[in-house]
Symmetry: C2
Subunit: 338 residues, 2 copies
DNA sequence: CTGTTAGCGCGTTCAC
DNA sequence: GTGAACGCGCTAACAG
């Protein structure tokens, strides 16, 4: 494998000069430049990025650690969509993405220490923020550029992009209430996820506003999987009397819930109304198409990237905390009370 | 940031000794070892992976370049599922995944050169193999460990895992023919994808076997997106007479096709039968659930990882080329001819 | 404009 | 058992 030395020798110049023409870091006479370029071409020379990173302290790589709680990416959750947009956007800044998996909840910090402190990446994006999220404190203390998708309860100032989950759920509830539903179930996220409480708050607030009383039997906390949604829905349908509508905290769970309802012979949008949260791609492609609260996930990925890149470049963020408003997308999974 | 030097100084030993205790590469007296370990803990020292990679010529990272043809990962194609399994499996070998995006068809090779020749990764997985795939020749010539998901027509011996697309489509066709369909459409993949021809072959073969003649009007080549499937289906439904069943080369396209058919007022499984290919997660969750040809994608990801890791370790592959048999999964998107 | 040189942080001989 | 010294390939000062 050719190194910069070989190129220098072939071109009859010093390695410094070669470096300069590669990085355009100093003016080089055209003639010499051409010789260098020619040598580079001849060897099909490619600079060793590892050596380059060691020297320059930059890797051109962003870390994304997949949370253990997500059971990796087996299911079409928002995470796939987010990753898609991050991949797209990071490309624009010539960053690659280093995907690591945390094996378990306890070892949650291991990949961060290895990847981040080991200097394999210039910064990282964290998702799925939790209450008392250890990662945030760690990254702040180590002074590593990072951006979070989601707020947290740690009393720390850190850059994030989040969606107003309370407002989102409130919109969905408003819609269901306007359809005449009064007995509305709620399938929530695991309480360790910080966003779970916002969504629940939106549910309670909408209820309260209409003078409806909060019935704990109608509120279930499920795992963030299709199976989690499926099971939660089954439970909800066994409540007496069962809800006529259900607000669900993620589309993924909503898909499972739809399946559960259909198994019970219910026609979704007629016998039972369902509102999801996320608006993942598939929400528009299932049958019936799912009415849901759209997180502008593509935009979120774009913002996360842009902010992180700014941070990496040492620029100051114009907006350090961004909260986006979600939007109700009406499709066909809801109907009026009968 | 603490380096190995700091640790050595603190422990009152040389950096060589520290290196030995970290890598367990020589016997160190227990007492000294403890001192080193203590110093490591005190500094929360983490070896610099970049320096380590430069020296050892290993990065512990696998490359996956997202093909430009897939329009990244915006849609729930097999790629998401494959990535999920690769992430899971690579974790078992302590490999991270470097995700890069190729910006355009012409610059297809750029990310490979940069990432692979730049020594950022120990090996790579390529997907979406094409006819005359340049990447294969390149990686072979550079002697880089790699494994492909998919065969190619290049007359080269390279390690791959693939699915027998011909047999898969044949199974689907067999099923449709047994339901009494004789006018069966086919939505194929872009012909640049090498697997497109196998699938078409399965279609033609099944037809021929039953003495049915091949009607070019019923065969459409679409982009591998939902929109591609949607458009292809619309075209197919405009053929006179339209097909009563359609064999589609990917689930993603099938989802789009289902939408197209439903828009025309057709009941899928009654008015028109649809068979997909892949069995992505959503195939079981759409309505009606999609009858499809299952690629054992999780297993494929696992095999790809295992083979690549073996290659990286310099071991010989027991099986250098693996072709898996797909399986017909009968759900509800097909019905008998009426 | 071009060459020389000093590290970046670590692993690895090879002495001791 | 332990330490000194070299070099992985490159960038960035600085000198000329």
């Amino acid at each position: 494998m050719a190194t910069i030395k070989d190129v220098a020798k072939r071109a009859g110049v010093s390695i410094g000069t070669v470096s300069h023409v590669i990085n355009n870091t100093a003016a080089v006479r055209n003639e010499t430049k051409d010789r260098v370029l020619k040598a580079i071409k001849e060897f099909d020379y490619q600079p060793n990025s590892v050596a380059r990173s060691l020297r320059s302290r930059r890797t051109g790589t962003i870390s994304l650690v997949l949370p253990a709680i997500e059971r990796s990416m087996d299911e079409p959750s928002y995470l796939s969509d987010l990753l898609a947009s991050i991949v797209d956007e990071s490309k624009r800044y010539n960053f690659d993405i280093l995907l690591s998996a945390s094996s378990s909840e306890e070892e949650e910090m291991t990949p961060y220490k290895r990847v981040v402190k080991g200097k394999m990446v210039d910064g990282c994006i964290i998702t799925c923020t939790k209450r008392n999220d250890k990662r945030i404190a760690y990254l702040l203390s180590e002074n590593i550029p990072f951006v979070a998708f989601g707020r947290s309860n740690v009393g720390l100032d850190f850059p994030y992009v989040d969606v107003d989950g309370e407002a989102g759920v409130y919109q969905g509830m408003h819609y269901l209430l306007d359809l005449g539903h009064t007995r509305i179930g709620f399938i929530g996220l695991p309480s360790e996820l910080f966003c779970s409480e916002h969504r629940l708050k939106g549910y309670r607030f909408a209820l309260k506003e209409r003078g409806l009383k909060f019935d704990p039997a109608l509120v279930i906390e499920g795992k963030t999987t299709q199976t989690g949604g499926y099971r939660s829905m089954k439970k909800l349908l066994n409540v007496d009397p069962p809800p006529t509508a259900v607000m669900i905290s993620s589309d993924l769970m909503a898909f499972g819930a739809m399946k559960a309802a259909q198994e019970e012979g219910l026609i979704i949008g007629r016998d039972i109304s369902i509102v999801g949260f996320d608006d993942v791609q598939m929400a528009n492609n299932c049958h019936p198409p799912l009415t849901t609260i759209r997180q502008p996930i593509y935009k979120i990925g774009v913002l996360l990237c842009q902010m992180l890149v700014q941070l990496i470049r040492g620029e100051k963020l114009s907006e350090r905390q961004i909260i986006l408003l979600p939007e109700l997308i009406v499709r066909e999974s809801c109907g009026p009370i009968r």
